[in-house]
């Protein structure tokens, strides 16, 4: 059987389309109107705020909050440690909690830091995740799949009022909402949202093959056990001498590249991912981490050049790549939707100077990584 036949056989009995071209055009017009209105409002706000608001990302690091910062990479310890007591509120591109466990549920150390949130992968004993490797020779050995994350949004960022169909509950005495969804052969989706600090919301998301991985009760217990740790900045294994004018960091992945959603947890071969956006991003109204496609983003990805993932240096389809460290490391700049020309991407690429990707002690605070 051919792959085309496999896909057709798996999808040809889908329901009739419930949306028409006219519906999509009408919706597109609404998006355009909202975008124009938002830009107008943003420009007005920006004129007022420009004097006050300075770029946090890639600005010189300082003791903005009085919190202790460390150079340690959040995911450098593979062990899931018990969370230490401390404040959970974070500044941009900063981690303020550590991994912990509640029974079979394990919250890993956070590996994605954005200018509005921090994200950690969540695992459950006896499951695997989307990035699980290995050959399946016996289906009885296949573990249930689970993709789960914990996201802590900074105050005022999460649009809790826009959630639909949520049931009310409490977590550690704080207001919370919970939602579940399952259809046909699709995944079991669960979300638990709770207020971990004034006007600041945390979200546990899970998507699993089985209905009980994890249960909502387990999610609630996991949420209740969350505590803070000493704040530490996101770090990257490089310095950077060029970023096109107007661009700013909006998310950093520690041992994660690509979508920077923390799903699957840290990878031994994906060292560091960085997303830049051109526009000033809204700091409110989010229901999920930023989608890098929506903001003319470009990405830097540092990963291992392994035998099964080898690359050819050069530029193609908006992806510019070079090899480093004797060919062992791949350095890539990806321009989404043509945000950068190949010449600009190459200039960014050639301005990257690696530290030791294997020694997180040599990694650089993201706020000081730009040396221009």
């Amino acid at each position: 059987m051919r792959i085309r036949e496999v896909v057709n056989m798996a999808t040809d009995d889908g329901p009739p389309l419930g949306v028409s071209v006219d519906d999509i055009v009408a919706s597109g017009r609404r998006v355009q109107r909202r975008r124009r209105a938002g830009l107008a409002a943003g420009l007005a706000m920006g004129a007022v705020a420009a004097v006050v608001v300075t770029t946090t990302a890639l600005a010189p690091a300082g003791d903005r909050t009085g919190k202790q910062t460390t150079q340690a990479a959040a995911s450098s310890s593979p062990a899931v440690a018990k969370a230490a007591a401390g404040p959970l509120l974070a500044d941009a591109l900063e981690f303020t909690f550590s991994g912990y466990s509640v029974g079979p549920v394990h919250v890993q150390n956070p590996i994605v830091a954005g200018n509005a949130y921090q994200i950690a992968a969540v695992t459950v004993d006896g499951t695997t995740d989307s990035r699980h490797r290995g050959k399946v020779s016996d289906r009885r050995d296949v573990k249930p799949r689970l993709d789960a994350t914990l996201t802590l949004y900074r105050p005022g960022v999460y649009a809790v009022q826009r959630l639909a169909g949520a049931a009310s509950t409490t977590v550690a005495g704080q207001r919370a909402l919970k939602m579940e969804h399952h259809q046909g052969v699709g995944p079991w989706l669960r979300t638990l949202v709770w207020q971990y600090a004034p006007n600041a919301w945390a979200v546990l998301d899970s998507s699993a093959d089985r209905s009980d991985l994890p249960t909502m009760r387990q999610l609630e217990a996991t949420a209740a056990a969350l505590t803070g740790a000493a704040a530490r900045p996101a770090t990257v294994p490089f310095t950077l001498s060029y970023v096109p004018k107007g661009y700013d960091v909006f998310a950093v992945g520690d041992h994660m590249t690509g979508s920077l959603d923390a799903v699957g947890g840290p990878s031994a071969t994906a060292y560091s991912g960085l997303m830049f956006a051109k526009d000033r991003l809204p700091k409110s109204g989010l229901l999920r981490p930023y989608d890098n496609m929506m903001w003319g983003a470009f990405q830097i990805m540092i990963s291992a050049n392994t035998a099964d993932a080898s690359v050819t240096p050069g530029c193609d389809s908006g992806l510019c790549t070079r090899l480093a460290d004797g060919g062992k490391v791949t350095v890539a700049v990806a321009s989404n939707a043509g945000s950068l020309s190949n010449a600009q991407s190459m200039k960014v690429l050639n301005g990257i100077r690696l530290t030791d990707v294997h020694d997180t002690g040599t990694w650089v605070d993201i706020r000081t990584a730009l040396t221009r």
Partner: protein, 175 residues
């Protein structure tokens, strides 16, 4: 948007809608979420239509990312084109062949990113570089995702006494 541009957008949507919905379904395994992902992605494409050299790649990327199941949940469906319409209704259930069920079950046991990589590469005919752009990863990682997905799908189908054609797979591959 000018009238001729909107007409081009309409033609693009009409031509891509079903294929994009398949990409979304194979990625997330849920028709309802798949359609919502496609409608939302195409609506967001509308204001960017004039500025894109490759709207097809952009649309596939948006749909893929929206369909990754941990990122597309009904309670976040705040802006989709299908909000104002009734839920998608499953058509009258007809007996699915045993083989169809086994093929679908096997495909949906392949991890979502690997499934999407397979569809992009071998069903939608993207190059390795284009597949990498849609998946948001390096070309090497995309190759790895395709390779692992193929291996896993072949193993799962073999367990069902269904053979995946090597000739077709490699014959379709771009370098």
């Amino acid at each position: 948007m000018k009238a001729d541009e909107e007409e081009a957008f309409r033609q693009f949507v009409a031509a891509q809608l079903l294929a994009l919905r398949k990409l979304a379904y194979v990625t997330c395994g849920d028709w309802h979420l798949a359609e919502d992902a496609v409608a939302t992605a195409l609506a967001k494409l509308y204001p960017r239509w004039r500025r894109l050299d490759r709207p097809d790649l952009y649309a596939k990327t948006m749909v893929y990312r929206a369909a990754i199941d941990e990122r597309r949940r009904p309670w976040r469906r705040e802006q989709s084109a299908s909000d104002a319409m009734p839920d998608v209704t499953q058509r009258d259930p007809t007996p699915l062949s045993d083989e169809r069920l086994r093929v679908r079950a096997a495909l949906l046991q392949v991890p979502p990113r690997q499934r999407a990589a397979l569809v992009l590469r071998y069903y939608l005919g993207l190059t390795q570089e284009e597949t990498a752009r849609v998946l948001g990863c390096t070309t090497g990682t995309a190759k790895s995702q395709v390779s692992r997905g193929l291996g896993r799908l072949r193993d799962l189908l073999t367990a069902e006494q269904i053979e995946l054609s090597d000739v077709e797979v490699w014959g379709n591959a771009h370098t």
